[in-house]
């Protein structure tokens, strides 16, 4: 009897290649949050982020024969997610960025459907509101970054990926990754310093 939770990613991929559906489910459960998190912060629209996340997994599993086992499975998965998201962003230029819903949402229902629920640790209501507001402004600052900078810094600081892995995922040289992250940090820090000054105003 296979205990799927104890298997590492490559072992689960091996089982998937032999047609084990439960191994595929375990991989989806394991990676849906990090993939969705990156994709959502790239496209800023819950429905589209879910569609792209879904498409990422479907393409991943339907092309398992192309997966090179010398790479980390997560790198390959993020690479597919990144390519899909960048394609989507190229097709549709975002006009505004908000956690409060898609810029295309017209009615309240559409706005509700496309907005995201931020899950925060248990805090007092006023503290929670303040932290959510700060988080919202930080999300906006992230959204103003160039797509490449955004991906690189999210992979580095939210998902904790190594520089080399980010280079693999984004298919760019290591030096470029470092430059992107350096610039993204600078721009975010400028945004954050604005946030710190705001309460005093």
């Amino acid at each position: 009897m296979v205990n799927y939770a104890d298997q590492d990613d490559k072992q689960l991929v091996g089982l998937c290649r032999r047609g084990d559906e439960r191994a595929a489910r375990e991989l989806v459960e394991r990676f849906q949050r990090p993939v969705f998190s990156i994709v959502y912060r790239m496209v800023r629209d819950r429905e589209r982020a879910e569609d792209l996340t879904q498409e990422t997994f479907v393409r991943t599993f339907n092309n398992l024969d192309r997966y090179d086992r010398s790479y980390k499975f997560s790198s390959w998965l993020f690479k597919i997610a990144y390519n899909l998201t960048v394609d989507h962003l190229r097709k549709k230029e975002l006009r505004t960025i908000s956690i409060h819903g898609s810029p295309d949402a017209v009615t309240a229902d559409q706005q509700e459907a496309t907005s995201v629920t931020l899950e925060s640790a248990e805090e007092a209501p006023d503290v929670r509101l303040e932290s959510l507001e700060l988080a919202g402004q930080l999300e906006d600052a992230i959204g103003r970054l160039r797509a490449e900078y955004r991906t690189a810094i999210l992979l580095r600081h939210v998902e904790g990926r190594a520089y080399e892995e980010i280079a693999e995922i984004m298919d760019i040289p290591l030096g470029t990754v470092k430059t992107y992250i350096f610039r993204a940090r600078r721009q975010l820090r400028e945004g954050l310093s604005g946030l710190h000054e705001a309460p005093e105003d």
Binding site: G19, A24, V28, S37, D65, L118, L154, F182
Partner: protein, 201 residues
């Protein structure tokens, strides 16, 4: 990696990360440099502030049901034995004819073997072992002839002189190894996953 830092050079991206995390991997020279270089101190502050802010971003998760939606669209490869069953189901006429032929051959063979004492199991086993011994002798003699033809009379005579039980066993082991190797290659070829096959039920 320990890199010499001078007043003209600054910390690399990796070293800034280490300094920001106050990690043990940071060498003393870099720590001292950060204390005296405004540019690197700013860099460390950037990394620290941004990484803390990004780490504290609220968790965003897809709505429940993503796994089911993904699995409904995934087409995993099927194991070879399940493919064989499905193929048999799809070709009922051919399968029935093949099963009937096999059954007829089996029944006919059983009747024939019972009518001829020489084909009863014990007699058959004796005959097979006898033939195997003959074959081994023939193979050894053939090998000697090849060696002689290749201009290696010493080797040929050595083979002839050493045709003992030991060489027969070694020959048998070689044949067994080759057979096992061939079988495993065949099994791998048959069980190798095929891309884009029928979806796992």
């Amino acid at each position: 990696m320990n890199r010499n830092i001078t007043t003209d050079t600054h910390l690399t991206a990796d070293e800034l990360d280490l300094a920001a995390a106050n990690a043990a991997g940071l060498v003393d020279a870099h720590r001292i440099h950060v204390g005296t270089c405004q540019q690197c101190a700013d860099g460390v502050a950037d990394v620290r502030e941004v990484s803390v802010a990004l780490r504290d971003l609220p968790v965003v998760s897809p709505r429940p049901g993503l796994t089911e939606r993904v699995m409904a669209r995934v087409r995993l490869p099927l194991p070879w034995h399940r493919r064989a069953v499905i193929a048999a189901r799809e070709r009922k006429g051919i399968s029935a004819a093949a099963a009937a032929t096999l059954a007829a051959l089996g029944a006919g063979g059983a009747v024939w073997a019972l009518q001829f004492p020489a084909l009863r199991p014990a007699a058959l086993a004796t005959w097979i072992f006898g033939r195997a011994g003959d074959l081994l002798w023939q193979a050894a003699i053939g090998l000697g002839r090849v060696a002689y033809a290749l201009g290696l009379p010493d080797l040929a005579s050595a083979i002839g002189a050493d045709l003992t039980l030991g060489s027969a066993v070694a020959g048998l082991a070689t044949i067994a190894l080759v057979s096992i190797g061939s079988l495993s290659v065949m099994v791998r070829l048959v069980s190798e996953t095929q891309p884009a096959l029928i979806r796992a039920s």
